[in-house]
Symmetry: none
Subunit: 402 residues, 2 copies
């Protein structure tokens, strides 16, 4: 059986910028282009054409799990990624500390990007018989778990995603008692969070230092408990995850996949790609497939930073890829979605895909970019088809019929 590395560069796909080239076309990436030239290439609709993938649903699809069947909501991945106790009947949220003025308008949605463990701990309360636990993750972010009877994840977001606005009232998304009850508790909790946080000693200190107060917690992305067949059972081989950001750790945990922590893997542009590459090469001794995630390409897309994105691609090419090509592993390079710098958001444009390794049908593609791969031998796949395709090349195939 062959080993494999699946490199997912978050938000890698792009559109021609200012009528010209995409960041992939504009960057110098000889190693990746060589893999493309000696491999098979194509485009991939991670969900389906025209549907913009979220990072969470995209990763489920790339790992061979139909998000329409098994997506539990984003909060679930946050809670799992934060290693919180999360069980059947619980509801989980992603949350962020924010700064609100005295009239309740949001001044800074991210409270200066600074949160703290002790502020999160101060929010562990009980409301209407529901135990609420808050865990601080990175920067201003938290995961929240509600535990109690008769809860539902079918409730709307509190975070209005816009400054100057007041937090939104949480609404039930279905007219049933659990959703109505959960929405009420969310609203009570958000109000209570202001009372607890605004007068918290730490916030008084922040105010003195001129740091925005983290004086409210905004909840969104309610998720429910779901269990799926673990990856190893489903595909018949062992996989591991190398990823900095907690969402991806949560997705891995949801699928029963081990995450390997790598020193210097930050999920940001300063991430240590050489360490990630080394960790991947090491992990291949123990695992059949290494899923290696690089986040920063997406961040540059959201920031509209064309040159930043192109430079990050060049760093991936020179710092990450060379160690991988020294192995015998089948190498796949793709993205979870496009994040064009021109529109600064996820888009439904298909992502570029290359597979290089023993047994692939080499095509005529010479460079790895959105336009060049479109004439490749893989044509246009869906995200859900990727893992079976890689499995078959690895030799862990499944036959339907005889």
């Amino acid at each position: 059986m062959a080993k494999a590395v699946l490199v997912v560069c978050d938000g890698l796909g792009d559109r021609p910028f200012a009528g010209g080239r995409t960041p992939l076309q504009a960057s110098s990436k000889p190693n990746i282009d060589e893999l493309a030239a000696n491999g098979i290439n194509g485009q991939m609709d991670v969900i389906s054409p025209g549907i913009v993938p979220g990072s969470d649903t995209a990763h489920l699809a790339l790992l061979g799990y139909d998000p329409y069947q098994c997506y539990p909501g984003r909060g679930t991945f946050e809670a799992l990624g934060a290693e919180m106790d999360f069980r059947e009947g619980d509801v989980a949220f992603r949350a962020n500390f924010a700064t609100v003025s005295e009239d309740g308008s949001i001044i800074d949605r991210r409270a200066g990007r600074i949160g703290s463990d002790s502020l999160a701990e101060a929010l562990n309360v009980e409301i209407d018989g529901v135990e609420i636990r808050v865990k601080h993750t990175v920067d201003h972010r938290c995961a929240v778990v509600f535990r109690g009877e008769n809860l539902s994840h079918l409730v709307s977001d509190v975070d209005p995603h816009e400054e100057g606005m007041k937090p939104r009232k949480c609404r039930p998304l279905r007219n049933d008692e659990p959703a109505v009850r959960t929405a009420n508790i969310v609203n009570k909790f958000v109000e209570l969070s202001f009372k607890i946080l605004d007068s918290h000693e730490e916030n008084r200190e922040r105010a003195e230092k001129g740091i925005p107060k983290a004086n409210i917690l905004l909840l969104r992305g309610a998720g429910t408990y779901k269990s799926v067949e673990p990856f190893e059972q489903h595909f018949g081989f062992r996989a591991c995850f190398i990823a900095g950001a907690s969402l991806y750790k949560g997705v891995a945990k949801f699928l029963g996949i081990q995450t390997i922590d790598v020193k210097g893997a930050t999920g940001r542009a300063d991430t240590n790609l050489k360490n990630k590459a080394k960790a991947a090469v090491d992990a291949l001794k123990k695992y059949d497939l290494v899923f290696l995630h690089v986040k920063a390409t997406d961040n540059f897309g959201h920031d509209g930073d064309f040159h930043g994105k192109a430079s990050m691609i060049e760093r991936i090419d020179s710092e990450l890829i060379p160690s991988l090509t020294e192995t015998d592993a089948i190498i796949t390079i793709t993205a979870d979605h496009s994040t064009p710098v021109s529109i600064r958001r996820h888009s439904a444009d298909p992502v570029p895909l290359l597979i290089n390794g023993e047994g692939v049908r080499k095509d005529d593609v010479k460079a790895y970019d959105e336009i060049s791969v479109a004439s490749g031998g893989l044509c246009r796949l869906r995200g859900l088809d990727l893992m079976p395709t890689i499995s078959d090349l690895m030799g862990f195939y499944r036959m339907f019929g005889t």
Copy 2:
């Protein structure tokens, strides 16, 4: 309305061998290449990308029947192909004579590839009220039908597919009474088959001549009775099958398609392709679509015989295709799955596909092989889409809406 011939070369798709060419790329096949150059080409995932098709499910898909909906299990096709009486409530198996030692270990899974009608007849017994009928088909192979109350096809295989092992115990695949009962009867029958066969006069004679005894019958591929809408009713035109091996005759019967027996069509490399071509041309007078199956390409793939496969392709090109191109029929050439010589098994690699005939949108493809067709106008289809595509070109189209 136009007529059509669908040529399915079993296991035709391949991977580059030793880093070089595929058998299709390495073979000289001017007639097929001319059809490609004047036709439309593409790739096809007979089931879906990454899923390895069995021969049985693949043929259902190619004929426009969704195997996920209507696959009855392999045994059903074997029983139908052997022209056994097979009804609602029956369970059918494929079976093979094998040679076991006195301690029950399998010495030869195929009993020297020699079976016999009389040995099969000796196994027509009744166990626990279930009537068991065995019919010898070709070589060491048989079809078996169980008839009685309360039977289930949800039972595991007895054949361990490996020599040196003992036959496996048949297990129920679902914890219900019919499956448990059927598994028990299978186990009793396999034991009984040894008692009956080992002491059979014919086996004493085989032993004297140094031929491996056919002293046990190994069952696998349990199938149930299912009925589907016959092909003619479903598509609105008449089709016939030209195929040597009994599985394909069974699939044809399952779909209500007539099989035409051709002298010298053996399902092996020595098959008479010229006779098959003549039969196809004749059949076009009476039928709208002729499904013409060539088995040997798959056998060479399983044997890892690159040159054998390439030579077989050359024979198909020179002995089969010319008669077909003299007709006005729309010609489609494809495969049911890939059987790369490098891995000697079915793989999920898409199969090459060409369609040539009046009305097709000619593309720029010049040669018929896995790599060349990938840039063709058909892009990448699924098996289930093939028959509607051909039907539309023939003029037997179906409109959805008005």
